[in-house]
């Protein structure tokens, strides 16, 4: 495990790194001293049985756990070398850099255009209308949705199919121009065909973005990710190249999980 991480960091400094992260919900500990480094422009998958804390851990990276009043995070998490829980850090700025896509597609009850334009508007990223339109179209194209919706940009986003909605959410996240996109089981509510489209999209996105994805599907993790982290009962059990985790895991628990004995 250590060796792997050293190899990665030798090539390029990690964009996200967590050291001894603990998360508490009230008195219950959800994450127990997790340390992990996420390499830039790759897809890192967090896997593990449900309730293992992988989603909770994912939400630490853009401080979404702040919105839950009883949730407390300790430890050190750095983004591009800066402590994201540092006193001077602005959560709003952080979340503009580290976007998020959720388990259930959650387009706003607005038009497709307004959904994507929401981020650029609040962050004041466009100087004029033309520029805003440009951002929206580029984002929709990057999310592979533009061709399907180009003729109905001003219709409601909630009228799209499930897979399209999720890609709309991805386009919405991209529009803010983040460096990292956190995805919390983005395909769990989608049918296999829509899932395949989204997976293909992620593959194409990793050139520009770093993706951290929580998934309950081991097959998905194996298909799309370069790195995989296996969580069990709030602890990080094993982290390394996806290929190695799935073919030759070090830990017995990882082996049990990928062979279907636990989970």
């Amino acid at each position: 495990m250590k060796i792997d991480m050293q190899q990665v960091s030798a090539i390029k400094p990690p964009i996200l790194s967590a050291k001894n992260v603990d998360v508490f919900y009230g008195k219950k500990q959800a994450i127990d001293s997790v340390s992990l480094e996420i390499p830039e422009n790759q897809i890192t998958a967090l896997i593990g049985p449900s309730g293992c804390g992988k989603s909770t851990f994912l939400r630490c990276f853009n401080r979404m756990n702040d919105t839950i009043s009883i949730c407390k995070v300790t430890g050190d998490i750095q983004f591009a070398g800066q402590d994201i829980y540092g006193p001077k850090v602005d959560v709003v700025a952080l979340r503009a850099r580290i976007g998020m896509v959720f388990q259930k597609a959650n387009p706003f009850p607005k038009s497709i255009f307004d959904n994507v334009a929401y981020g650029p508007r609040i962050h004041d990223l466009a100087e004029n209308k033309a520029q805003l339109e440009d951002i929206v179209i580029t984002s929709l194209k990057r999310a592979g949705l533009y061709d399907e919706v180009s003729d109905r940009l001003h219709e409601s986003g909630t009228g799209l199919s499930g897979g399209q909605q999720q890609r709309l959410c991805i386009a919405r996240a991209i529009a803010v121009n983040p460096q990292v996109i956190l995805m919390d089981e983005p395909c769990s509510a989608l049918d296999p065909i829509a899932t395949a489209v989204v997976e293909e999209l992620m593959e194409s996105m990793k050139e520009k973005y770093t993706i951290v994805i929580v998934t309950h599907s081991m097959a998905q993790a194996a298909r799309i990710s370069q790195k995989t982290a296996f969580f069990h009962l709030g602890k990080l059990v094993e982290f390394g190249d996806t290929e190695k985790i799935f073919t030759n895991p070090v830990d017995q628990r990882t082996q049990n999980y990928i062979s279907g004995k636990i989970g």
């Binding site: 709003v92 700025a93 850099r97």
Partner: protein, 425 residues
Amino acid sequence: MTEYILTTSPKLKRRHAKEARFKWYGRIAITIALGFLVLMFSAIIFRGIGAFSQTKIKLEVSYTESIIAPDGTRDPQILRLANYKPILTAALKETFPEATSRKDKKRIYKLLSKGAVYEMGKRVSNDLALIGTHQTIWVTASSDVDLFLQGKVDAGLNENLRKLTDKDIQSVQYLQHEGLLKRKFNTTFFTNGDSREPEMAGILGASLGSFFSLLVCFLIAFPLGILTAVYLEEYARKSKLTDFIEININNLAAVPSIVFGLLGLSIFLGVFHIPRSTPLVGGMVLALMTLPTIIIAARASLRSVPKTIREAALGLGASKTQATFHHVVPLAMPGMLTGTILGMAQALGETAPLLMIGMIAFIVDIPHGVTDAATSLPVQIFLWADSPEKGFVERTSAAIIVLLAFLILMNLLAVYLRKKLERRW
């Protein structure tokens, strides 16, 4: 741009300022609403607290038999209404020996409440042994003296604009100086009915009127409400009829209360000839108003009883009725009671519909049943609030304090019941 990767840029600062402002709008809104609550409570308490005590004047009276009972009667009914004015006048003469003129005597007598003679009658009829004795007693002073003692009379004001003249004030100050004036707990307020004199006016009549009305209201609305809820939740299949009943209930809950008063006026009084101004008709009108509240609460309560309870009972061979009334209803009872108490609290504060059915009359007698003419506590408040006498402002506020105390008690009881008895499934 890069220097602000994660820290606050000027642009962000503006957005955060907006955020802070927005938060403050919320805080200010709550502060205004609650500030009003505090202002209202403190204004009412400040004005009303004085009515809970009352000024009494110490007098040495002789219960001379030749005046009270010239024919030697000992009948309490007659003695109650005997002529006590000469006795009080004589006692005042001893206190104010210098007041010899007719005018002065009359003026000094006015320092006493007009009800003082009735107080004397009550004393004597309650204790016949007093006749022929000499006693030191405390007699209720007029409301103006009471207000003066509380500092609520502006002595700097032009004499013609106030009820107490300068001479009156001198007399009061003399009494004060001699220790013959005292403010005592005001029992009259809790034992009397309405009166034209503020110092003789009490809330017992109105409170009993409210009590009898609520009793009638409860006896009608509680069973009807629960049975309706049981029918809609447990028995009825969804049909046009149940839909219509439901629409009716929801809309009745939002019909202006005064409309119920008109219904009472034209149907209960006009068609059924139920006696006007009585708690009976008041309670009936209030029952129709409270019904939707009780039904809605009872249905929610029935819905929270798990299906498994019904299935278990039916599985043991209980009939639908047995399952419902032996198992489901008792389990839902705490919630139903809570809803009923809240409905009753609402009914207790209701005024407008009662005005329509004549519960607005000036009634001195204490009602003894649901068919005696009566007012209710909120109507009494309305009547007193309309009265120009300053002493009644105090009485009004005090009556409000009592009404609010009842309401708070009922609400606390509801909260207690909910916490104590309600199961969590």
